[in-house]
């Protein structure tokens, strides 16, 4: 997988999200046609429990709840708003064409204005969503990603350990991570935590030098 599709157009290697790729799916999942559990189930229930514990712990962590809340608080009202606005437009156009035919300026009528406003609102909402995701979600989500994968790796490394213990570790780790990750949002966005950053060293070096 380490080859570039189009060097001429340039991958943006300074983007931290591109590091993420190398943290393979391969190390925790079955081969292509047997996705997810099939393989794991056969091997050991313990491992699977530990794996589940990691995700349950992360899901309950404050940092994750924060990411989810922020995502849903933007997306659900915005979706409702544009769907209502679009349906209102279509229904008005089909049910009340006379209203839509009223002139606004010169030859431009309400229908034209509403149609162009649909284009404008689509572009505007796109911009707002991207901005919201970039400023309010991306950093937190990326940190959670490294943490989760780290916990999962600890789980595989300690293969024989009991699920309970892995779960305990996971809880401790999530607890420690939730604090700073949440407080960061409050304004102090300096000092990226060493823990989150050193998670995928192999991955990162593999990427260095790719165009």
């Amino acid at each position: 997988m380490i080859f570039c599709v189009c060097p001429s157009l340039g991958m943006r290697t300074e983007d931290p999200w591109y590091d993420a790729l190398a943290s393979g799916w391969g190390d925790q999942d079955a081969p292509p046609a047997a996705p997810h559990s099939a393989d794991r189930r056969g091997k050991s229930g313990e491992l699977r429990d530990a794996h589940a514990a990691v995700y349950l712990t992360v899901q309950r962590s404050a940092a994750f709840q924060q990411v989810r809340r922020r995502y849903r608080r933007f997306v659900l009202p915005a979706t409702a708003a544009f769907l209502v606005w679009y349906l209102a437009y279509v229904v008005t156009a089909t049910v009340a064409p006379d209203l839509m035919a009223r002139p606004v300026v010169g030859v431009f009528n309400v229908a034209m204005a509403a149609g162009l406003a649909q284009f404008a609102s689509t572009f505007l909402l796109t911009w707002a969503y991207v901005r919201h995701a970039r400023l309010r979600r991306d950093k937190l989500a990326l940190e959670l990603r490294w943490e989760t994968q780290d916990m999962a790796r600890v789980r595989t490394a300690g293969g024989g350990r009991s699920a309970a213990q892995a779960s305990h570790d996971a809880q401790a780790s999530a607890a420690s991570s939730a604090g700073p990750a949440v407080s960061r949002d409050g304004g102090s966005r300096n000092s990226p935590r060493a823990g989150a950053r050193t998670n995928a060293p192999a991955a990162r070096t593999a990427w260095e030098g790719t165009p």
Binding site: L21, A33, A53, T94, V107, F119, V130, A141, L142
Partner: protein, 534 residues
Amino acid sequence: MSGDHQTLTLLLFSAVIAVTLGITSWASRRRHGSPEEFYAGGRLFSPMENGFAIAGDYMSAASFLGISGLIALFGYDGMLYAVGFLVAWLVVLFLVAELVRNCGRFTLADVVTARMRERPVRIASGISSVTVSVLYLVAQMVGAGSLVALLLGGESGQARSWTVIGVGALMVVYVSCGGMRATTWIQIVKAVLLLGGALTLTVLVLMRFGGDLGALLNSAAERSGHGRDFLAPGLRYGGEWTHRLDFISLGLALVLGTAGLPHILSRFYTVPTARAARRSVVWSIGLIGVFYLMTIVLGFGAAALLGSNAVRESDPAGNTAVPLLSLELGGGAHSTGGPVLFAVVAAVAFATILAVVAGITLASSASVAHDLYASFSRRGGRAGGGGLSEVGVARIAAVGVGVAAIGLGLLAQQLNVAFLVGLAFAVAAAANLPVLLYALFWRRFTTRGAVWSVYGGLVPAIALVVLSPVVSGAPGALFPELDFAVFPLENPGVVAIPLGFLAGWLGTVTSREEADDAKHAEAEVRSLTGAGAV
């Protein structure tokens, strides 16, 4: 239409074929035979590349020629399509793109089965994905046949048949030899060509009117024969209540269907991360939005410069409005510029068709090989019990899908299949979107809910179309001599989409199976953070 002009058109068509085959052979030389490579092009496209490819996948000849033709004939009502096709992308951006990228691998079924018993769900969503793809593919093939026949000036049935066979053969070659990598580059090249062509024509139209949109609209209204009514809704979807309700149904299907189209969903797996998927959707919204704005100008421009009647005489459905407009903008049929511009636009339309059918063929071969074949043949172990790799099966599936599409395309070529595109969107919205949204957002969602919601959307959508006036009981129907049309609408969206959501809810609340909290936690964490993503 002179012989020279036909020669030039054929020359440009050959150039398009040569370039696309060149891309295919270039891409196939670098192939590794892995599913990652075949279905997802190695997952290393940049957001901009993928954004162009998404736009190239989505902007079909139906939108380039069809929407501007509708505007040239019916004025404002054609514009409603353009709005629906664009607004749909907000659903994709907000609810689908990033989450699907984070927790899926190659197909829609991958996202859903992450949480539940795999086999029944995979089979159900495989069936619905293949259904959507085949409906869309047949519509595109038939459209290609009549379009190329029109553009080349030959109305003969043979030209149409050979076009359908030729387009089918080309798309099979692209997909089975080049996989996702070839398909993506073909779509990128096509998107650039299409946007370039549309931009050139738009600038020429605006120059004719000195950049004055008001003057453009005024003369469009004048020459349409409808006066000011041309600039307001109601010319096409006015009148009877069933027509109006039909349009609302279509509007609903357009806006919700895009997020369930398998060939669109599979495009998000070609970029490395969810954030890259988001950025590629932003690129594609920009490109598609600008494209539809230009389409609107071209449609009104055709009405203003040619008059609606001239457009209708050439093709009652209006599909030749833009080619005729290009002839006019270039200086008329007897100048040098006119035929050249006409030939260029025809070649762009041809490239558009090829790129779109390739994308759909790839998505349906992925559904057949990765979902259906894997579910039916596997009992533990790697893909494909019979010694065939999954990618081998996918390549064969592409041939099978191609043959089926050619066959159906040939059978349907004398029929009016314009409703098939609307139907494909309606099935995608009724069968694919509910299961996807439930799986991503509803904690309690169960296996039974997933299976019910797929079939609960798919079966009513198909059944309602069979019972609708497009199949029987109307002059333009598939079987005009029979009459079993009990459902009055041509598009089943307004009934089938709520049924799909309802069935998913009902299946979930009636199932005895408890939702697996651990699996839900995993799916949710992965979808929002990207942990463990491929």
